[in-house]
Symmetry: C2
Subunit: 238 residues, 2 copies
């Protein structure tokens, strides 16, 4: 048995994870916080994995509905268990490859699309051995552009696409979102320690918006003695 149930905070939320697959990390938590989801919003979560982002978003606001999509069937089964485990009946999960499946609800009706995608391009970066981890970390199936195309199709005009990614992909991200009508509006770099290079970026793009990017103050994860900074503690507290 490789599954376990973790208490993840956010008002007593619990998450069943498979330790042989991809367990959620700080990226998911930072993305959920960065989304600044509003009550009543209809949300699509791409690359939803075990559903951690829908579960946290449900704690941070009162979405009308969250649809999660993932390519891996085992992840979607876990995500459905996690919705039930937390008594969330407005979460719905779909197992599909967004690069191929034509029956998805990408119908310009969503207020927000969140996405914690694979970070590495096909054929680049280290390849981890377990196949579930491989798909979660690498663009083995859909590419960055596939996720952006899906987000652009799913969002209503003025809707927001929020993504967490690696800083090294920033130029790819900027070029790809603009190509598909999503304008970068908010960007935040996340550094592991002060004076270190950022290793995570958070970006919000708005469908059909005018140009003008706001760059937020850098978010630093840990103080020099290795403790979480006050802002990270606030984010984890929900």
């Amino acid at each position: 048995m490789t599954q376990r149930i973790d208490e993840i905070g956010f008002g007593g939320k619990r998450l069943k994870q498979d330790k042989n697959a991809f367990c959620y990390g700080i990226d998911a938590v930072l993305l959920a916080d960065f989304c600044e989801a509003g009550d009543g919003e209809k949300i699509l979560d791409l690359c939803t994995g075990n559903g951690v982002i829908p579960v946290i978003l449900s704690a941070l606001s009162r979405p009308s509905e969250i649809v999660g999509i993932d390519f891996q069937e085992a992840a979607v089964l876990l995500a459905e268990e996690n919705a039930a485990l937390n008594g969330l009946d407005n979460l719905r999960f779909i197992c599909a490859d967004i690069a191929e499946d034509k029956g998805l609800p990408l119908d310009a009706s969503f207020d927000l699309v969140s996405c914690n995608p694979p970070y590495f391009e096909k054929g680049r970066g280290l390849v981890s051995s377990a196949s579930a981890k491989l798909v979660a970390r690498h663009e083995t199936t859909a590419s960055l552009e596939d996720f952006v195309v899906a987000a652009a199709a799913a969002l209503k005009n003025g809707g927001r696409f929020c993504m967490v990614h690696r800083p090294s992909r920033l130029a790819d991200i900027m070029e790809t979102v603009r190509k598909h009508g999503l304008e970068p509006k908010r960007l935040r770099m996340v550094a592991p320690y002060i004076k270190e290079a950022p290793n995570i970026l958070l970006i919000e793009c708005i469908k059909g918006a005018g140009k003008e990017l706001k760059i937020l103050p850098e978010l630093v994860v840990r103080t020099e003695d290795g403790q979480f900074t006050e802002e990270i503690k606030r984010i984890y507290a929900g």
Copy 2:
């Protein structure tokens, strides 16, 4: 008389400036440092103004030649005076609108192009009253794309384009440089104080390079008590 001569450091360099025009600021100093110019390099400085960047670059390395281009004749006359004032005989200045002039030496022969361009797009941002300041701060003549096109034409393959700009233009910059074959390789955000949003960005693009952007640790200008940080002191010390 609105001109004055300032001691600007960098091994005793002096700079004649017109206080009614655009005087050099920290942006120029940070850009010159960020360029990491090497000995023997052939350098083009776009929007050279009174020549502050060629003067500082001459202190930081031993370029074979620096060509500065500016649209304003008064600025070019000052730049020529500044080259003479510092005994720099490998600096040459051209008064031209890079968006129009076809006789410029944009001949794929430069190792490095530096550029401290107007920050605001035409019709956007505050318009300052004095006309020399207006041209220096706004894209009244050439646009961001004009500077990028000129840089791409001037650089040899593998040559570097280093620019200082506003963070709000990051998406425009990324899209425009890639469109013209310049790949973003190094990016540094500069924040006035710790925990504040960055207000300056430094970017290096390499002509014909492969994808992979390196984001450097954020550069903070002042400590909480308003003093320059150690890194800024090091940069100003040359």
